[in-house]
């Protein structure tokens, strides 16, 4: 009987059974908060800047997730220690799957353009290897949607990232299903006024926070104020995280490290940190 029970698929394995492990943040506070123990791989995730001015921060968070996603050995190391790391280093390096950035060349109708062109050296300084990136520029929203679905259907990329302005419920369901079939994470950057409901598994609102400085006073690691606004089967939450581009790890901003966060809304991150 126990044998049979073991063979039965688990409650979540209907769609995700053959999929990869969810993408962990390497940070227990966030991972344990999310229902799957990380960002589900075969799902649509929305990333929204808190204000229009925070768009680079939101895109930075997206790139950080992609960087984490494309460095399996480090992610494994951060997630579950020695076993995985032996496993991932004993095998020869696999083909480097690309990551697609599908961005509109036409600008967003409601929130202006992307602030500039994506700078490869900037991706590089966030720990994402630009040689893995394929930049796809689309002329209108129909093309964007087509390219997103095409990229997901092919199942080839490591992840798909995109930027799109309007997205109705039905289209988002379609995208979510495509991501689920492919078992690939689809990260969508949305304009800051996004309010309509969508089928996304999570929606993150990203705000800016003063960056961490090293002991020489140089800007070392970016920090973002993350707000988990919507989360299917989960609770919303709020954190201030710091991202290390060398190890691809997120960490909670320590309470004593930066006096600027003890002012104002930084208190909520302390609460979160204390709770976890």
């Amino acid at each position: 009987m126990a044998e049979l029970r073991r063979l039965l698929p688990g409650p979540n394995s209907l769609h995700h059974g053959w999929h990869e492990k969810p993408l962990s943040f390497g940070l227990d506070a966030l991972d344990s908060h999310l229902p799957e123990g990380g960002l589900a791989c075969g799902a649509l995730h929305e990333i929204v800047p808190a204000t229009q001015a925070a768009l680079p921060a939101a895109f930075g968070f997206l790139v950080a997730l992609l960087a984490r996603r494309s460095s399996p050995s480090l992610a494994a190391f951060a997630k579950s220690g020695a076993d995985d790391i032996v496993h991932s280093f004993s095998l020869p390096p696999r083909v480097r799957k690309p990551v697609l950035f599908i961005v509109p060349a036409y600008g967003w109708s409601r929130c202006g353009h992307l602030p500039g062109r994506i700078f490869g050296h900037g991706l590089n300084s966030l720990g994402f290897d630009p040689s893995r990136a394929i930049l796809v520029e689309t002329a209108h929203r129909k093309e964007t949607l087509w390219a997103l679905v095409e990229a997901l259907r092919s199942g080839t990329p490591r992840a798909v990232a995109g930027a799109i302005d309007r997205l109705d419920l039905k289209t988002s369901q379609k995208l979510h299903l495509a991501a689920m079939d492919a078992g690939l994470p689809l990260l969508l950057l949305r304009p800051s006024q996004t309010l309509e409901s969508s089928a996304a598994a999570t929606r993150w609102r990203v705000g800016t926070a003063p960056a961490a400085r090293d002991r020489f006073g140089l800007y070392a690691h970016p920090r973002w104020r993350l707000q988990l606004e919507r989360c299917r089967n989960g609770r919303p939450g709020e954190w201030v995280v710091e991202y290390d581009h060398v190890t691809h790890r997120f960490s909670l901003v320590a309470a004593l490290a930066d006096h600027s966060l003890s002012r104002g809304s930084g208190a909520s991150s302390l609460k979160q940190a204390a709770r976890s």
Binding site: P56, F61, R96, G122, P130, S131, V136, E137, A151, A211
Partner: protein, 475 residues
Amino acid sequence: MNQAAENAGLAIGDSLADARAKAGMLQVGAEDSGAGDAALCRLALWATRYTPTASSWNEENGADGFFLDIEGAAHLFGGEESLMADLAGRLNRFELPARLAVADTPGMAWALSRFHAGSPFILPSGCEAAALARMPIAALRLSPETRTVLRRLGFKSVGALMDTPRAPLAARFAADLLKRLDQALGRVEEPLVPIVAPPVYHSVHYALEPIVTQQAIVARACRLMQNLTHVLVRDGVGARALKLSLYRVDGAVKTFGIGLTLPTRSVSHVARLIDLKLDALAAMQDTGFGFEAIGLAVTRAEPMSGRQTELHPSRAAEDDVEIECCAALIDSLQQRLGVHRVRKFKPVPSHSPERAETLPPIEDMAALAWPQPDRARPLFLLPHAEPTEVTALVPDGPPRRFSWRGVTYDIAGAQGPERIAAEWWLNHRQHCDLAPTRDYYLVEDGKGRRFWLYREGLYGRETAAARWFVHGLFA
């Protein structure tokens, strides 16, 4: 000249007054040589349905016709006679009275088309000398001066010229007389310059009835690709670039180029790319009365090793499949969105941010090596650095406050300067002044927004009043 003009007795070379006298109702207009050339070029393109090598006549050939190299293609139409009949019939339907001739050499065919009485005329192999002997001197494509001199010397036909010893002719005339003679007789090769690059492999399908739907075109193209696959496998190559030609019933030809990231022989992949290409160009909006023939050509082939199918797929084989899938995805995106829309980041060894990277379209699957990041670089680079008003404590110190796009930012912290000077070797070549040196600062405002500012010009040396610019945004 058309039939009506011939009936009226007009001749090429008449003066306008003579022509008016012969035909009173004559209307005179300026010659549009460009339109004539374009029409001839279109017709030559249409004629590639018979053979891939069509070559328009240049100025010295009279520029009013084209050569078709039908060697190896005639049997597909049931021989030279039926090819000629088919061609003549179609040209008649376009109401283009044409003079056609087949011969072993281009020079001979040219002479026959001009000076032989029967229009579709096929010269049997080996009869060049006899046929040419009866032709007038003009059949040799000579310059007017040479022709005049020959006429003065009493040469009326090519036969007379052929009987004359060669040495005096070579001494008396420029080289082109003997060259033309030898070309017509096949003693000297005459290369043809095709109007479109001849494909490596070529396959054409002639529909029984005009095709009007996209599905039908894709299905036919699929069959053509199957034909090509056998040849590609035999030669151990794959297609890197394909050309699809659609021949419309009314003579117009549409060609579509399809580039591939990796050499391929996959029929389904090519069919899908053609489908996407037709989608993207909305090619089916202008079908006219339909397409009567479809040609698929491999314009670039590259060696492609056959893959062994293994019972236990190895890691390397899996990786190959993965690379192929990736190439397939890039191909479809490029066909649907345009080649220049699917790009990769390529580093350029330069410190100047504008020049530090390029975004070329993806052409192959080679991975580029990016250097380790050593300096903070913004995630977004503004297309053009935007001027900004900056307040600084000391003229060459870090900024304290700046306003950009109508918002004023108080700077909480600044990191810098990082001095980037213009590349003198580039500017030197253009003989213009060096661009001013830039001092870059990474600044952060109170809310944590980070910008990349620079001050242009060194105080005292390059400028008296430095200007500030915003150049990038950090995550």
